[in-house]
């Protein structure tokens, strides 16, 4: 069994942002030499997410609006008694989920034609990390 671990760093200019990290994950898989296995892509923060969907700008706007509708920014979260103001970012992270697991076949991400991996930032403008961990043989 082989494994490989790398960390991707982000520091977005905007509070919320959506970044296609598919090439980064493919690069980690290629470097690992693993041909058959699984690659975990997981945010290391509780106000960010990782998801798989389409690289289409209109859809990304729809996703952002939808997340804001179901997990809105507001001042009244109990979490804000700690001095924080990012309660909505925690709920958005839970809604979109903080990780995906991607199959690796023949040394490549075994994806359908439109699948892309996105890092979703909900409380940016500071340094944050994603772990990419490949396991297989």
């Amino acid at each position: 069994m082989k494994s490989a671990t790398e960390y991707l760093w982000f520091n977005t200019a905007k509070k919320r942002d959506y970044i296609n990290i598919t090439p980064d994950v493919q690069r980690v898989v290629a470097k690992s030499g693993i041909k058959e296995g699984l690659v975990l892509v997981s945010a290391m923060h509780i106000t960010a997410g990782v998801y798989v969907n389409d690289a289409e700008d209109g859809l990304i706007l729809d996703i952002d609006e939808w997340l804001e509708r179901l997990a809105p920014f507001k001042s009244s979260y109990q979490h804000h008694r700690t001095g924080e103001s990012n309660g909505d970012a925690h709920l958005k992270s839970l809604l979109i989920h903080h990780e995906v697991l991607v199959p690796v076949t023949g040394g490549k991400l075994d994806f359908g034609p439109w699948q892309q991996i996105y890092y979703a930032e909900f409380d940016g403008q500071r340094k944050k990390r994603v772990i990419v961990k490949v396991l297989g043989g």
Copy 2:
């Protein structure tokens, strides 16, 4: 380390449908000969999902109605500027999630008494695929 990969094909008569694929996944696991490991079941499309819950017809109606309430079909998605009309199917896929990872113990799906794996189609009436990938020993 051993691995096995198979693809399940779907072409549903309805636009939205929910199909119990537990026996198919169990069959792939049995054929792999893997006794201890993990099996990933992941939609290869961005308008479909895979989830684990109960095989109960009433609940499936509730899930469908709930997904429509939280991620409704409507014409005004930005994604539709591309000519598509399936913005809701992308959001439903994100909400239910596109994949599950199931533990394999003693050569079988290590599930509680009511857990079943479902393929959730949100934009059907065409050929679509799910990957089943087992990793273990």
Copy 3:
């Protein structure tokens, strides 16, 4: 390849509850002797979830209120024709998701500073289980 499997048991006093199980998962990983791998933490019931987020009491209240807003308790679910009254618990499980996969690096959970694993009970006051399965080397 090595693997290890343990089951955590719960029987909460309340119908809904949120329990930090990070130390339990870390203990299973340490006992397994696995240094590099992945650990799956997955509810074995369809009315419970497992998620990763902050160990902050205010936030847990926010999460509970948010789940109730998006997947409310009500009598009119179709699932209730079976005699059950826990339709909301199934939907809450789907929303928060029933499992997480955590990377293991150097024999430890490879987490960011605030990440903690929670068991989320949505239909408690009876015995329920979570599987913890580590795979790696």
